[in-house]
């Protein structure tokens, strides 16, 4: 007679530690990335159908629930950007400059700066630029 092997229960493992909760939050931002890609894709599709269809897409975005949803999505995307650059040093091999390893925080800071600069550039282009 064989005994059943012990399987350690893993149900809800990530809820037991705030560090893992943050990890799971970071990973699930990808659902919002997908959702936004679909919203953009629908926009391009509606654009291809002409002015009336495109303006219906814009009107849908003006619905209060759509604006609220995008507010939530914006928070998720900010968290994604923050965590993406935060873990970047852990995903890269050590980079050496002048024989010394570049501190991880410096790489993260460069990423955060890049997001700020790109965001400002896109904002300015859409608002004032010729596009």
């Amino acid at each position: 007679m064989t005994r059943l092997p012990y399987v350690r229960p893993m149900q809800g493992w990530w809820r037991r530690n705030p560090y893992y909760v943050r990890y799971m939050l970071m990973e699930t931002t990808s659902v919002i990335v997908a959702l936004y890609a679909v919203i953009l894709l629908v926009g391009v599709w509606r654009l291809s159908q002409g002015q009336a269809a495109y303006e219906a897409w814009l009107a849908a975005l003006r619905q209060p629930w759509a604006i609220a949803l995008h507010g939530f999505m914006l928070l998720a995307m900010l968290y994604h950007a923050y965590t993406w650059w935060k873990v970047l040093p852990k995903t890269l091999p050590l980079i050496h400059v002048g024989g010394k390893p570049v501190p991880g925080l410096l790489l993260s800071a460069a990423g955060w700066m890049a997001t700020l600069v790109v965001s400002a550039a896109v904002y300015a282009t859409v608002r004032w630029g010729g596009l």
């Binding site: 893993m10 149900q11 990530w14 990890y23 799971m24 990973e27 699930t28 990808s30 659902v31 990335v33 997908a34 936004y36 890609a37 679909v38 919203i39 953009l40 894709l41 926009g43 391009v44 599709w45 654009l47 291809s48 002015q51 495109y54 303006e55 814009l58 975005l61 003006r62 759509a66 604006i67 949803l69 995008h70 507010g71 999505m73 914006l74 995307m77 900010l78 994604h80 950007a81 993406w84 650059w85 995903t91 990423g111 890049a114 997001t115 790109v118 965001s119 896109v122 904002y123 859409v126 608002r127 596009l131």
Partner: protein
Amino acid sequence: MKRSNAPIFWSLFGAGGVLSALLAPVLVYITGIGVPAGAGMPADALAYPRVLAFAQNLSGKAVLFVVIALFLWHAAHRIYHCLHDFGVHPGLATRLMLYGSALAGTAAAALLTIRL
């Protein structure tokens, strides 16, 4: 030895992650809050003629296609691995469905942006 396909999907995940870390917050703000709620953006920033001209321009097409496609590949890969963390052990069918959706979205984005 059979070559792994992991580097391809990981590269798409990584590229999409970088692009979305750079662009997703500002894009979500512009199309979802700034223009629709009139918060910090003029209402005509996304007016039909302007967006159409952008989407008919070769670099505009490239931007739209690359953003949509890489966002989708990034998400498909990350969701696939995240399912495991949630205690769902996805098989080949789930993987095909996730990457298949990204592929379908990529194809749709390519067709639409080319034809615009």
